[in-house]
Symmetry: C2
Subunit: 361 residues, 2 copies
Amino acid sequence: MSRVKSEDERQYLENVFDKLGFTKENGQLLADTLVDADLRGISSHGIQRLDWYRRMIKDGTIVPTREPKVVRELPGTVLVDANQNMGQIAANLAMDKVIEKAKKVGVGIGVVKNSNHFGIAGYYARKALRAGLVGIALTNTRPLVLPTNATQAFLGSNAFAFGFPASPHPFMFDGATSTVASGKIQLADKKGEKLPGQWVVNKDRQLVNDPREAEDILARAAFSDTQIGGGLLTLGGTDVENSNYKGMGNSIVVELLTGILAQGSISADTVRGKHDFSQFVFAFDPSFFGDPDKLKADATAMLNRIRNLKHVPGKTIWVPGDREYKNLANNQKQGVNIDDKTYEEISQIGQELGVNVPAKI
Amino acid sequence: MSRVKSEDERQYLENVFDKLGFTKENGQLLADTLVDADLRGISSHGIQRLDWYRRMIKDGTIVPTREPKVVRELPGTVLVDANQNMGQIAANLAMDKVIEKAKKVGVGIGVVKNSNHFGIAGYYARKALRAGLVGIALTNTRPLVLPTNATQAFLGSNAFAFGFPASPHPFMFDGATSTVASGKIQLADKKGEKLPGQWVVNKDRQLVNDPREAEDILARAAFSDTQIGGGLLTLGGTDVENSNYKGMGNSIVVELLTGILAQGSISADTVRGKHDFSQFVFAFDPSFFGDPDKLKADATAMLNRIRNLKHVPGKTIWVPGDREYKNLANNQKQGVNIDDKTYEEISQIGQELGVNVPAKI
């Protein structure tokens, strides 16, 4: 694990995206989403994705020179074609349009089709927050998750982000609808730890605690047409008694609002052919419902009451967003963490493209 | 447990609501929501709520003679004041307005304030479906749910319903954001069974398997100012390792979109003073994004693939909605189930008000 200055990471990424054929503006946006994730401690969606992005550019899945475009609009809705470029660029456009709509008619929704990975979902919810709105962003992904009672993966570890104004930082719920994102398993592997919870099962729906075995199951499910069975569990874990079908429900809701509405691939079909992802963004203007300062103060008061509830001695009640804003404050000072494998990857990419690699600090 | 004809249940309820001072139209709506729940096998939200509704009318929490009204509107948004009448009446009005908006600008959202219990959330999502739209409905409730690491209840077992067109019946995800709704615990008690999953913990966050003990904890949390600690667990159960903070996140999202946006009580504060609930409804027109028949066929194909995935031998993969539409088909023929305690309650209410009680069949 090393640390680099986030400004150096940003400069490196902008240079790399420039060399890869993105426009300056698009490259800056892509860099910003990855740096933002790393600053917030969401390393799974930070610079460690670069190598994968680059491979998708090489194989033609991502076409950096194309621009996303608005297919059609109503006063409250927009359909955006990502035109096979990165999801960040199209989702950013879709959220810009949705923000405009919410400012005019009170609410807006947008669907992005022909898209790719779009970084952290929270990035777009925060864009709405900066405009004084409430924001939601969803994406489907690769098929990693088993429905209740199933022994093969089908659903994406689909992401859901929701931001609501609060102090000293917004309420920011941002994560996979599955029990964990697959990045957590890679992290356990890097640390040499067993998987601590009900995260992954094998083809017999038996719990897998070895991270290597789990990674193998997920890699086969996510990237090949020849599943060996097993995958990530839905929120609720192994047992119907713990209502794991509700976790399945949440994942299916995202599939319907992304792949189905966009008439693109559902997560299960991203392993073949087009490899396209789809996104859904949503924003509304809270000031329609009440004085925004009052709403913000009310939300803050509720979240503070949650933080201060009676709790298990020695434990902390973290409200969604608390950890990432704490990471953000720390990492803005001390730089962002980059694991050794990723540092090696970005060094090689830098060498190939003639771009200075961020120095370790 | 007895069965009665659903037509008899409906007639009884309409007569009771008439005697209680509701208008004919509002009484019919209230009856329809309760019969609908019983037909779908969601008995927790059916006629068994009548006794509670009646007590709230007696103590002035519900005022049957008032009409809900639209406070203000934009092309995409509406704020409705339930005017302290039942949530069903106001949420029905809000969803009607939202459907109109979605037909015009593509999308609509509505918030209901000064409200009460609104029956099953799915009822309003289905209203959107019948108009050819995608529908969502949310409500906050009484404080029953402990945030991660907390030892006292604070969040509601807030409901989330989502409906999307599909064949032979819509995708219908409708339930509490907590692991289970409290009705499941009462059901276990009636059957004399131990609680099978990670549902309820005591003041030390230790699992409670005795339904009576669990009911006592929840009754104190939900209806009094003197909590004894403990409550329902969020989806994800007892352990942080199983990401129970995601279940907490889902519940807080609903709190923000209901009690906070409506500037009413958050779930934690419904135990004192106003006892008001708040609701959020949302609909959009899928035909903006593509041919509605194609979207419906695509959704159906995905759901059928889920139902037919490889699975644990002897188990069935139920897609959200499958069970309730199966119940609906059966109960339309064979009548609805009413447990003995509820039958006793409705008999007494019938006697008091001079209304014929539905005969057992």
